[in-house]
């Protein structure tokens, strides 16, 4: 039998109890579908692994090739120099052979990293992005938690409808929804200002300048990311056993206290998941700041894009990306760890 059977879950061997069997059915399947010409190569490839290994290999190879390896390429290019060439960067390895010398040099250009760590704009941009992401996360939590709580406590029959109402904006293009806010918040002729002017709260010479400021950006980010906070919170709160609150009341605990002492601690996995889902991508957010916050707001996402697209400084952009990834790697790992634990608990 295959040596890959794990003893604690023998059922895991269900997928490939017998490698020969898997290869046979693969071969037959390919031939049946008219891919007989490719069958020998494909079967040979999979025969290199046990049957189970072959199954794992398919998504694994794809992810390695198109998720992991690109990061290494970014790392490599971050050590290059920008050049007027296509592609616009230099190689790292150079051979020198002119009869006298025979060198292999590896040139790692550290200038990009130096720029990032010393130049004010970059440091500011990273810190600013982190700050914006943190505030946005807090705002999402402040708005999202009451919503999720109310949804979870609603009567069983309207819960699916409420869930649908929360998901509906999520399925609509986020770009469109951001655009809607632009329409509302525009300084000249925006809906909000028009409304406020028409009822006399503001004079036409002094409209509210919301668009192209940080405020607009916060509104935009919170608006776009709200479902990502509400959904994990709702999933968590909905599953909560309400008899725990009854037990608390029975033991003399007032409802408000019970909320903080029973409900909130139980909701923590949901809160953590929601915060990760908002904070991490928000740090590198590009579209919303670009559209809504004007040139004076520096976030690292925009800096990266500018360095790449307008300045055509690919190595610098790559370095910015590497540093951003380094900053985020720990939260990402924590997120992954938490998700894995949740899956284990659900087993």
């Amino acid at each position: 039998m295959s040596a890959n059977d794990s003893p604690d879950r023998p059922a895991a061997a269900l997928i490939t109890h017998d490698k020969g069997d898997f290869l046979e059915s693969l071969d037959a399947g390919l031939r049946r579908r008219g891919l007989g010409f490719a069958a020998p190569v494909i079967v040979w490839f999979f025969s290199l692994f046990s049957g189970r290994g072959a199954v794992i290999a398919v998504p694994y190879v794809f992810l390695l090739a198109f998720f992991l390896i690109p990061f290494f390429i970014v790392l490599k290019i971050s050590f290059a120099e920008t050049a007027l060439a296509i592609p616009p960067y230099t190689g790292l390895i150079e051979m020198v052979d002119d009869g006298f010398e025979y060198y292999l040099t590896l040139k790692l250009n550290l200038a990009n990293y130096l720029t990032i760590f010393t130049e004010d704009t970059y440091v500011r941009a990273y810190l600013n992005s982190a700050k914006i992401a943190a505030i946005s996360t807090a705002l999402c939590l402040a708005i999202g938690f009451p919503m999720a709580y109310a949804m979870a406590r609603a009567s069983e029959s309207i819960r699916p409808t409420l869930l649908m109402l929360v998901i509906l904006p999520f399925w609509t293009s986020f770009l469109i929804r951001v655009y809607a806010w632009i329409v509302i918040l525009k300084t000249e002729g925006g809906l909000l200002n028009t409304f406020l002017i028409s009822i006399g709260l503001i004079s036409p010479d002094n409209p509210l300048r919301i668009l192209n400021t940080e405020w607009a950006m916060y509104i935009g980010i919170v608006y776009s990311y709200l479902p990502f906070m509400v959904l994990p919170l709702y999933a968590n709160l909905e599953r909560m056993d309400l008899t725990l609150l009854e037990a608390a009341a029975d033991l003399g605990c007032r409802p408000i206290k019970a909320f903080w002492v029973v409900t909130v601690p139980l909701a923590i996995p949901g809160i953590i998941a929601g915060c990760f889902l908002v904070f991490i991508p928000a740090v590198g957010e590009y579209v919303i700041p670009e559209l809504m916050s004007g040139d004076n707001v520096r976030v690292i996402g925009r800096k990266l894009f500018t360095d790449f697209a307008s300045e055509r400084n690919w190595p610098l952009a790559a370095a910015v990306s590497v540093v951003l990834l380094m900053i985020l790697i720990i939260p990402i790992m924590l997120f992954q760890r938490q998700q894995a634990k949740l899956q284990e608990a659900g087993r």
Binding site: D8, A12, L14, T16, F22, S25, L26, G53, I56, P59, Y60, L63, F66, F67, L68, P70, F71, V74, I143, G144, P146, M147, A150, R153, A154, S155, L162, M164, L168, F170, W171, T172, S173, I176, R177, V178, Y179, A180, V183, I184, K186, L191, L226, V230, T243, L245, L277, I280, G284, E285, Y286, V287, F308, A318, S321, L324, I332, M333, Q339, Q343
Partner: protein, 273 residues
């Protein structure tokens, strides 16, 4: 314990949903405004819809987006299902932590990082940017969503029907295709729809990995919006919102109907016996 909603809860819900929906409703409203400006009501008209359908540029981009989304979703479902299956069933193998990381990371990874890294990959291996690269790029993050959905579904899956199939003579591979897959099909469908939405909506990764002449709809909208408010965009938005709304409402009605039907059948069967 499902009491009626308390005052606070009602207020939270109302405020929250108002916040979510008012901008959408405003867009829909103004897509019928004959005037170009938002602060002037020019009368009800379909003018902008007309202009929209004559805008070859936008229509072409819409077509590309739909094609790309369909292709990427299908590829994502194939890869994501296998990945979800691996995550749910193979609890220990060499490299599982890395695999798990590669599945969960795209869910939170900032798009600028993903976009840049993929572009640099394609340049490094000299793969011309076009539909192919975009499909690969979209698949690389969509498949994670599918994997998570499928994994969730499989965790609560009753394995005894797989064992029963094997007991009756089906090989494990056959069992997967004839028993497991049909039963988890709804999860695959929702994974496909999720991928479709994410792909259709994507700006950053698409801009990095697309080639000349392959602009997608969100990329075009993005450029247009940067230059200011465009009424055709209102019309386009309304159409997209309407399509999605109809889809979501229809899906939940179908689900509700199926559940009612199922309960009725179960009650009937119990009574009959």
């Amino acid at each position: 314990m499902t009491k009626g909603l308390s005052k606070i809860n009602l207020v939270s819900l109302t405020f929250g949903f108002a916040f979510l929906y008012i901008p959408i409703l405003i867009l829909v409203f103004f897509s019928f405004n004959d005037s170009r400006l938002v602060n002037v009501w020019g009368g009800f008209s379909f003018r902008w819809y007309g202009e929209l359908f004559q805008n070859e540029d936008l229509l072409g981009a819409a077509w590309i987006s739909l094609l790309l989304a369909a292709a990427a979703s299908t590829l994502s479902v194939v890869l994501g299902t296998v990945a979800g299956f691996v995550m749910a069933r193979f609890t220990s193998f060499r490299g599982r932590t890395l695999f798990s990381g590669m599945i969960y990371a795209p869910l939170v990874m900032p798009e600028v990082i993903t976009g840049l890294s993929l572009l640099l990959l394609f340049v490094a291996i000299d793969w011309g940017r076009g539909l192919g690269t975009m499909i690969i790029a979209h698949t690389s993050f969509c498949m994670s969503y599918v994997a998570v959905v499928v994994q969730s579904r499989l965790v609560s899956f009753d394995r005894s029907i797989e064992e029963a199939a094997q007991d009756l003579g089906a090989t494990p591979l056959k069992t997967f295709f004839v028993i497991t897959l049909p039963v988890i099909a709804p999860a695959l469908v929702s994974g496909w729809l999720l991928s479709f939405t994410l792909s259709l909506d994507n700006v950053v990764i698409t801009s990095f990995t697309s080639g000349p002449g392959w602009d997608t709809l969100p990329v075009k909208i993005f450029s247009a919006v940067k230059l200011g408010v465009k009424p055709e965009i209102n019309a386009l938005s309304t159409i997209m919102i309407l399509v999605v709304a109809i889809g979501v409402v229809a899906a939940s009605l179908v689900q509700k109907r199926a559940m009612v039907e199922r309960q009725r059948a179960e009650r009937m069967a119990a009574a009959e016996n």
